[in-house]
């Protein structure tokens, strides 16, 4: 597993439910909560989409997550912030069992998707990575593939893709990723012929094509210019109607712009997790305060 390119890690396994069967259950999404912004109390009453319970993680002997517990609500954008090296990416990668693909890496504690322990015996990590997709810092389309094939690559590799459904799935994914308008006339061109921002949206389309429920994004805009960044941020807002989004960002202003709640990690410890509006105006913990106001060391 360790030598696999990261793109391939989110590919569904042959044991996964066929795409057409999952359509119905996916069709009924919760109404968008962004506009109404219900009080935090109500958010808590909804059952969370993804939870970490006492999650610790190691690389060899080095512990990089310290008993992190948090509940990520469905159909919201949750941001994870913190200084570089504090364990943001590791936390994200524990959420879809990618952490364990690194030699010598391990984790303890629980991660639950809709209440089900994703680390339980018998759970197929490949299926988990399909339900919990990932987008990386650097856009990484398959260099040899066309735009069309890039979008479909995840499904293709499973052998699940029915030929007659392919075009529809591709179009839907590209529309959801807000890229369709720009590429519909050039679907056969290589994915890497696109601009950086478009490539990142192509990667989002590729992740969406397998119909995940959760989308993990690890600093998805750090290689992009402000306009491409604004497009991705706008996209995150609209995608949160259907998907649960977790974004790691080192950019606090971005976390403040895009997220409903924010988690602040420091040296592997979850210092504070709360409504974004509150955390960035009146954080509870002095360590959060010092970090977000730029008082380091």
């Amino acid at each position: 597993m360790t030598e696999l390119a990261p793109q391939l890690l989110s590919v569904p396994s042959p044991s996964a439910t066929p795409v057409e069967d999952r359509k119905a259950s996916n069709g009924a999404t919760l109404p968008s909560a962004r506009i109404e912004r219900p009080a935090r109390r109500e958010q808590m009453e909804e059952s969370p989409k993804l939870t970490a319970e006492e999650l610790s993680a190691w690389f060899g002997a080095k512990q990089v997550l310290q008993r992190v517990s948090l509940a990520i609500p469905a159909n919201r954008v949750t941001a994870i912030i913190g200084p570089s090296g504090c364990g943001k990416s590791t936390l994200l990668r524990c959420f879809n069992r990618m952490h364990e693909t690194v030699t010598g890496a391990r984790a303890t504690g629980k991660v639950r998707l809709d209440g089900q322990d994703i680390y339980a015996r018998g759970v197929d990590p490949v299926l988990i990575r399909r339900q919990i997709g990932m987008v990386f810092q650097k856009p990484n389309p398959f260099p040899s593939m066309s735009i069309r094939d890039n979008v479909l690559s995840g499904l293709r590799l499973t052998g699940l893709l029915k030929r007659e459904l392919a075009e529809g799935i591709m179009e839907r994914a590209l529309i959801q990723a807000a890229l369709w308008e720009e590429v519909q006339d050039r679907l056969s061109e290589p994915g890497i012929s696109l601009s950086g921002g478009q490539q990142q949206r192509l990667c989002i389309a590729r992740a969406l094509a397998v119909e995940p429920e959760v989308l993990l994004m690890d600093e998805p805009c750090s290689a992009l210019d402000p306009i491409a960044t604004a497009r991705i941020e706008d996209l995150m807002h609209s995608l949160s109607d259907r998907y649960t989004i977790v974004i790691v960002t080192h950019n606090m202003q971005q976390a403040a712009r895009v997220s409903d709640q924010t988690a602040f990690l420091l040296m592997g410890e979850l210092v504070e997790f709360g409504a974004t509006d509150q955390l960035f105006t009146s954080p509870h913990d002095v360590r959060t305060e010092d970090y977000i106001t730029g008082k380091f060391g």
């Binding site: 105006t281 009146s282 010092d290 730029g294 380091f296």
Partner: protein, 229 residues
Amino acid sequence: MTKAHTDREFEGELQELRNQLLEMAGRVESMIADSIRALVQRDSDLAVRTIEADNRVDRDELEADDLCLRILARRQPMASDLRFITLALKMVTDLERIGDLAVNICERAIDLNQEPNLKPYEDIPRMAGVVQSMVREAIDAFVTGDVRKARAVVERDDELDELYHRVFRDLLHLMMKDPSGLERGIHIQSVAKFLERMGDHGTNLAEQVVFMVKGKDIRHPGRLEGENG
């Protein structure tokens, strides 16, 4: 108040803003004192000088606003820094309004000083004393981040309201007894009203300090929750 900002230029800008606010508050405080002195000591020259001093306070407001906008645009401040900037933006408005009210008092003083005293001023200087100490304490609370002091200021507003009503009743009584004092009575009553309004701005200042320190809004209790629920 906790650690210093890693970016020292940013730290310097916040310090500069704090100093601007303190200087402005100091100027406003003396305007209150001078306007009442101009009235009680029948010193119309002082009234004129105080009216002129208000130009400086107006400029203070513009300068502080300008600095706040610059910091917002360039630093995108967060948490207590953000609360400090929003506080500063509101504080200068309140301070500037207090300055305007002192000008209004001076204008009345100039009119009143041309006539014999209707009666010795007692409660008016008392009111001015309360207002001055409200402003001073609010600014003190701001500098030291002292929430308790700020809350105490909010409570003093009742004292001021009481004095105002007493002045009003006394004047009414006088004017009914002797209608020749009507015009002077109305002027004095406006002075009391101006002082009472200064007290409201002082209360605002103090409430904003609580917000800056605690991140909690104590104005209009219960309103935000009610609107959300």
